[in-house]
């Protein structure tokens, strides 16, 4: 006779945020941060697929060195639309606006964000910006590159630059309002007992990213406004023929766009900091270091922007300073990698899908980050600037890092958001396919770049073809890996196993409420007495899958 005590089968709560109210108005006029997160989830998935389609077209075109698929002008539009969609409409809002919006209030132990109506406004602004971007796309696209360098963008490009700029400005305000909400919520709405030192690291990361959103985004707004003014009224701010300075555009653009990459990666790192302790059944190593490293990245990230401009004609002395600071900004990221690894050391590793993504993140982000140091070295940068080396570097950190973390987070918190488990076998398969496809796509690009293949060129010398073909083959595998979750996540909504409150036996306030949570998050506001990440204590039963 079995003496094991079986836990009661998990049940869906009768009333939760998804069924609390029906009808399209209850969604489009919602003030519930969880519903807004789901709205964002739909929107950014659309832009991810759109940006991905452009990527597919680029990789198909690059199968042959003679550029037989598209004209050079069209190719310029393809990589621009890929970049703009991915950076501004997918990567920047991905974790903060979906997982962050959903979890930050719950993790700090409160009923909603500080300003729910502004949160909804933020989604509408995002949609408005997205629509402007779509209009620009449908009217023929933009061909300036996502970096909009002047004076091409302000005086010579014949595409719809202003419409696209307006879309990005509006989406920027969406980002600002999200960041504003997070900052005020974390400062002023923590539950009783929730001190800063007890906050989950996911909150610390989103808080740090929010600081960057607040301080950086307004600068790109004014930069794009000036660009639009110059383009519309032919005033000379960036156009040298009118007395302007094109390098000034680059300074102003990168003042935001460099910290922007930290807006993208910090929340992803926050996700990893939640997944790794849970599936190592061990406390995070060096909580304080990881928390403060997020703030350090946010601060240091603001003083390195000109490393994108080393060959643009800036002063050598200034370049030296920016190069040195770029080395410094790598240090807090390395601290995180060491701490995650130390957390896994001698832990009881459970190879669930989120953990597979987290481990992939640690490896791929490290490669991406280290290659960033290659680029930060002045002498090396002269050789590899504007080559595929740069492209490989940022795809390793953004896709191998950020998208991987985003997928890991989606899998980890899917049960909490929907009340259902995704199917583990297809999920693991998708993770492995993604990993293989990703590396096959982008590793050859490091070699291509080092060998001298320039970026943003529609043609290339024939000796580069083999590596390009490998890269495209990898991209086709990667796309399968990215599409699979779409299918099984939707499948799980109806047929997935019911998750229960805490299927992962994880710590954190979000796991102490129902899955899905009630509209007001908690039936009773919790009082926090424990430190976070109290894993491996008091005879916990590890999760078996």
């Amino acid at each position: 006779m079995s003496t094991a005590i079986t836990a009661p089968a998990p049940v869906m709560p009768a009333k939760h945020y998804l069924n609390d109210n029906y009808g399209i108005r209850s969604w489009l006029l919602t003030k519930d941060h969880k519903r807004i997160a789901i709205l964002y989830l739909f929107s950014i998935s659309f832009f991810f697929l759109l940006g991905g389609s452009f990527a597919a077209l680029i990789r198909m075109h690059l199968l042959t060195p003679n550029g037989e698929l598209f004209s050079a002008d069209t190719y310029n539009k393809l990589f621009t639309m890929h970049g703009v969609n991915m950076v501004f409409f997918f990567l920047l809002p991905s974790v903060p606006a979906t997982i962050g919006n959903f979890l930050v209030p719950i993790m700090v132990g409160t009923k909603d964000l500080a300003f729910p109506k502004i949160n909804l406004l933020s989604w509408y602004l995002y949609m408005a910006g997205g629509i402007c971007s779509l209009i620009a796309m449908i009217s023929g696209g933009v061909d300036t590159g996502w970096t909009f360098y002047a004076p091409f963008s302000s005086g010579y490009s014949k595409t719809h630059v202003i419409m696209m700029a307006v879309g990005i400005i509006i989406a920027g305000f969406s980002s600002i309002f999200t960041g504003l909400n997070f900052i005020v919520t974390v400062h002023r709405m923590r539950a009783p007992g929730m001190t800063w030192g007890r906050l989950p690291l996911f909150v610390w990361s989103n808080y740090a990213a929010s600081l960057i959103m607040i301080l950086g985004t307004p600068v790109i707004a004014i930069t794009l406004i000036l660009l639009a003014l110059e383009r519309g009224f032919h005033i000379g701010i960036f156009d040298p023929k009118l007395g302007g300075d094109p390098v000034l555009f680059q300074h102003m653009f990168w003042f935001y766009s460099h910290p922007a990459v930290y807006i993208m990666i910090l929340p992803g790192m926050g996700v990893i900091s939640e997944i790794v302790p849970c599936f190592s059944r061990k406390r995070i190593f060096g909580y304080t270091f990881v928390a403060f490293s997020s703030i350090a990245i946010a601060v240091f990230g603001f003083v390195v922007w000109a490393h994108h401009m080393f060959v643009a004609g800036i002063s050598v002395y200034s370049a030296l300073v920016f190069s040195l600071l770029s080395y410094a900004v790598a240090i807090p990221s390395a601290v995180k990698v060491f701490n995650w690894t130390a957390t896994m050391y001698k832990g009881s590793i459970e190879m669930t899908t989120p953990m597979l993504y987290a481990m992939a993140f640690i490896g791929l982000f490290t490669i991406g980050g280290l290659t960033g140091l290659f680029l930060a070295a002045l002498g090396l940068d002269i050789h590899i600037h504007d080559t595929y080396f740069v492209i490989a570097h940022f795809h390793y950190v953004m896709v191998g890092g950020m998208v991987t973390a985003y997928l890991g987070g989606l899998h980890f918190w899917w049960p909490k958001m929907t009340g259902r488990m995704y199917p583990e076998a297809p999920a693991k398969l998708a993770a492995i396919i993604t990993f293989i496809g990703f590396n096959l796509t982008f590793f050859p690009q490091f070699i291509l770049g080092y060998m001298g293949m320039p970026r943003r060129y529609a043609l290339y010398p024939p000796e580069f073809q083999v590596l390009n073909v490998l890269s495209t083959a990898g991209a086709s595998i990667l796309s399968v890996g990215f599409l699979l979750p779409l299918f099984y996540f939707v499948w799980s909504l109806k047929y997935g196993e019911i998750a229960g409150d805490n299927p992962w036996k994880a710590t954190g306030l979000e796991w102490e409420t129902t899955s899905p949570p009630p509209t007001h998050n908690f039936h009773q506001i919790p009082v926090v007495t424990k430190d976070p990440y109290a894993y491996g204590e008091e005879g916990e039963v590890p999760v078996v899958h």
Partner: protein, 99 residues
């Protein structure tokens, strides 16, 4: 029982600050017509900073606000300084020649 826990300035104080601001403005305007060479913009901006500080401290109640609010405004000024000074490190050192 009054609900607001922080004190606030009196109309008298507001009037004093207002007059200080008016005097500062007149001073800025008058000094602009005196040739101080390189110091003209320095003096004008110094007076502007003092005026802005008065507005922030008293009209905007920072003097009576929490540490967090004070930190917030300082952070803003600091970040603005980062943007200005680090951009200038490029422009001002372009024509430096090694000896």
């Amino acid at each position: 029982m009054s609900d607001h826990t922080h004190s606030h300035p009196t109309p008298g104080l507001y009037l004093v600050i207002f007059l200080a601001l008016v005097i500062g403005t007149c001073a800025t305007w008058a000094i602009a017509f005196v040739d101080l060479g390189i110091w003209n913009p320095v003096v004008a901006l110094t007076i502007a900073v003092i005026k802005a500080t008065l507005v922030i401290l008293f009209f905007m109640h920072i003097y009576y606000s929490s540490k967090l609010t004070k930190l917030t405004i300082s952070a803003g000024v600091f970040w603005l300084m980062i943007m200005i000074t680090m951009s200038l490190t490029d422009y001002l050192t372009r024509t430096f020649l090694p000896h």
